[in-house]
């Protein structure tokens, strides 16, 4: 992840003198080695504690597999580092509390990486919802799915861990839920179903939610193409947000949909108020804005885009959903296959 997404924004921030990458940590030093080419002044470590003991860093970026997020975040905070932790912050609410406590005790910034908050169209839709331009919200449906093609380097996300943290729901789920929470408030989970057998991790998820604003549904998939969109239906209009694009949003108020011109911009420097702003069009540009926001939180005392408390709500919804888990109905299977699938579903273990 660091190599694919964070390298370019970090290089740019180094060039601008905003930060300097001082340490690269990976259990396999060879993985960090390829990144080292771009950050030759950084020291490569195979152990986070040793890197922190070096005492060179002020900010730790936790980009490791989900199961390690809480433990590594707490460790970094205890070593007096500010932390930007990739989503989700932890695999349980209890773990979230530990991280938040550590941040509070140490007086450090705890930010959670929810990159989509830095997608201009996503922010624009929120403005439409909050301003009441769509009227009273009647319903929403969120669909995100395609055949998984992320170039992952480990099996961590595909291996079931008793405490959670792997599978589709911990991968895309936090993105979807954090955004829906940002739009509509913390929802109650009405139903949750997935397709994982005992010892496996889900490749499909369907949920029904009731948010403080309206009821809605979420469908996620790692193995089937879905219409990647969030559709919000209000009394004064309907909006469709393209989930797979950072800058595509359409609005229908009477006849037909029209794409909205997106110009939402984020601070792009450390001045107060910002002298430069950016409307990102690329994933790496959104990451750049997210990193700038973390730097502003540290330097200017601004709140991070997503605090630990906010990110905890997302984990709370995930926990709540998993408690309600049942198998997805698959009427396209043979009858005996359906029976076997129901019997082998992880909830029967």
């Amino acid at each position: 992840m660091a190599q694919k997404l964070y390298r370019k924004p970090l290089q740019k921030l180094e060039q601008q003198g905003v930060l300097q990458v001082t340490a690269l940590v990976d259990r396999h030093a060879s993985h960090a080695g390829s990144l080292h080419t771009f950050f030759p002044h950084a020291v490569v470590y195979e152990d986070l504690r040793r890197a922190l003991e070096g005492g060179q860093s002020d900010l730790s970026l936790i980009l490791s597999p989900t199961q390690l997020h809480a433990e590594q975040s707490v460790l970094a905070l205890r070593y007096n580092n500010h932390v930007l932790c990739e989503k989700p912050m932890a695999v349980s609410v209890a773990q979230c509390d530990e991280v938040i406590s550590a941040a509070n005790e140490m007086g450090r910034v705890l930010a959670v990486g929810m990159i989509r908050r830095f997608f201009p169209a996503f922010a624009h839709l929120r403005e439409l919802v909050v301003s009441g331009e769509l009227g009273e919200i009647h319903s929403f449906s969120y669909r995100e799915g395609k055949v998984f093609d992320w170039d992952v380097k480990t099996l961590a996300g595909f291996t079931r861990h008793p405490e959670g943290g792997s599978g589709l729901f911990f991968d895309i789920g936090p993105h979807a839920l954090d955004y829906l929470i940002w739009l509509f408030g913390v929802p109650e989970v009405i139903s949750y179903a997935d397709d994982a057998l005992v010892g496996g991790v889900e490749g499909n998820v369907v949920m029904e939610l009731t948010s403080p604003v309206s009821p809605g549904s979420v469908q996620l998939s790692w193995d089937s193409p879905l219409r990647n969109e969030l559709r919000v239906i209000g009394s004064a209009g309907e909006a469709v947000l393209r989930i797979d694009e950072s800058d595509r949003l359409a609005l229908s108020k009477s006849a037909g949909f029209k794409e909205v011109a997106i110009d939402h911009a984020y601070p792009a420097d450390l001045h107060q108020p910002a002298r430069q702003r950016m409307s990102p069009r690329l994933y790496t540009e959104s990451l750049y804005c997210q990193l700038i926001q973390v730097a502003r939180a540290i330097q200017l005392g601004e709140p991070p885009a997503v605090s630990g408390e906010e990110a905890k709500e997302c984990v709370r919804v995930i926990e709540s959903a998993r408690r309600r888990a049942r198998p997805i109905d698959m009427p396209w299977l043979d009858c005996d296959e359906q029976e076997a699938y129901q019997a082998l579903h992880w909830t029967k273990a």
Binding site: S141, R143, V147, F148, D149, W150, D151, V152, K153, T154, L155, G157, F158, T159, R160, G167, L168, D194, D195, A196, L197, V198, G199, G200, V201, E202, G203, N204, Q219, W222, D223, S224, P225, L226, R227, R231, R242, E245, R248, A250, S252, G256, F257, E259, R281, L282, T284, I328, D329, M330, P331, W332, L333, D334, D336, E337, A340, Y341, L344, W346
Partner: protein, 374 residues
């Protein structure tokens, strides 16, 4: 046959369904061989019943340990045409090196193009001159495998399905999207033969070959039992998808109607374009690449339902040829050898596909559709 069943290329849609079918049948001796970690996303839900190996199908050395101890290997690799012959060769050679007694290789009926002769049978030579690189590569692989049939100790069974349709089929999704977006068309009014097999019928064929107690070597056409035209297929999906078949444009089959998009797609198939793509990808600024991608993807339909029908459709060259198939390939050889009848009817395949479409949300009103088909 008892022992480990190893599926090379298990992450494709046929592979995933085959593995799922075996696991749900309580087979715990299933091994999935895939090229990259990411390929496991579609299999990870099945848990530890499937053991996983990472290996490159074009690299014999990495395959041999992955195939060791297998009683049967199924080749379901589905990469770019340039990789078909090398992977076919390395998989068979690895089977021989690992003493695997049986290899089931999945070819394609596209090696007979439009099936112009009624006398084509399972052992007719494939066409070596074909406009489509994929078909040419599949034909070359078949020719090479036929040469190996009597030479290698491993039993080679080559299955030759036509259009594999149904749940999770990318080809079926293309048809469904064309109907949903009202840009579908039929060549010669859809009277061409839908030389096809429902995914579960193909999986049943493969499993029959896996479990057969006797020597299975040979080449076999496999297909659904019914005679179905392309019009039949589109019509069966049209109703649940809200498509009015009376609006369906018919395109002449006499001469391919070239368009800018068809020309672009043809150019993309040229091997040199692959190199050019990677050359450009490394040099173009990210914002330019992003804009180009959006342009190529075309207009997005935001409405819940498209109401206007395309009358002058943009024709895909592969679809144009597929819809001009003249004869149904015989499947009597497979039926006779294995005593096999495809378990699912065309109607049942459609019913299952529509259930899946309802799950995906492609069918506007799932409840209505489920009621209609139950």
């Amino acid at each position: 046959m008892i022992g480990t069943i190893t599926i090379v290329g298990a992450a494709g849609f046929v592979g995933r369904r085959l593995v799922e079918s075996l696991v749900l049948d309580d087979r715990t001796d299933v091994r999935a061989v895939v090229r990259a970690h990411r390929s496991l996303a579609g299999l990870a839900r099945l848990g530890p019943a499937v053991s996983v190996w990472l290996a490159d199908a074009e690299d014999r050395a990495s395959l041999v340990p992955a195939l060791q101890g297998s009683s049967v290997v199924v080749n379901l690799t589905n990469g770019p045409p340039a990789g078909i012959m090398p992977s076919t060769r390395s998989i068979l050679e690895a089977c021989v090196a690992a003493d695997v007694p049986r290899l089931i290789h999945i070819s394609s009926a596209v090696v007979y193009d439009e099936v112009l002769s009624p006398t084509l049978d399972d052992d007719s030579p494939p066409l070596t001159q074909h406009w489509m690189p994929y078909a040419k590569a599949k034909a070359s692989a078949e020719i090479w495998l036929r040469e190996q049939l009597a030479v290698v100790p491993c039993q080679i069974a080559v299955l030759r399905p036509g259009f594999v349709w149904g749940v999770r089929s990318p080809h079926t999704m293309s048809v469904i999207n064309s109907l949903l977006e009202k840009r579908a068309y039929l060549i010669r009014d859809g009277q061409g033969v839908f030389n096809s097999i429902y995914i579960d019928n193909l999986v049943a064929c493969i499993r029959t070959c896996i479990d057969h107690p006797d020597d299975v070597r040979g080449f076999y056409n496999v297909a659904d039992r019914e005679f179905v035209t392309w019009r039949d297929f589109y019509s069966a999906l049209a109703e649940p998808l809200g498509y009015d078949m009376s609006q369906m444009p018919s395109v002449s089959g006499d001469r391919f109607p070239w368009s800018v998009r068809a020309a672009l797609e043809y150019v993309q198939l040229l091997p040199v374009m692959n190199d050019l793509y990677y050359w450009l990808r490394g040099r173009l600024p990210d914002r330019v690449k992003s804009r180009m991608k959006k342009l190529l993807l075309g207009r997005y339909e935001y409405g819940r339902e498209v109401t206007s029908y395309v009358t002058q459709p943009t024709v895909d060259r592969e679809v144009w040829h597929l819809q001009k198939v003249v004869h149904k390939l015989p499947t009597t050889k497979f039926a006779g050898k294995f005593g096999f009848t495809p378990p699912l009817t065309f109607e049942e395949g459609i019913r299952r596909t529509v259930h899946w479409l309802a799950f995906l949300g492609s069918v506007p009103s799932p409840t209505t559709v489920l009621t209609q088909h139950e």
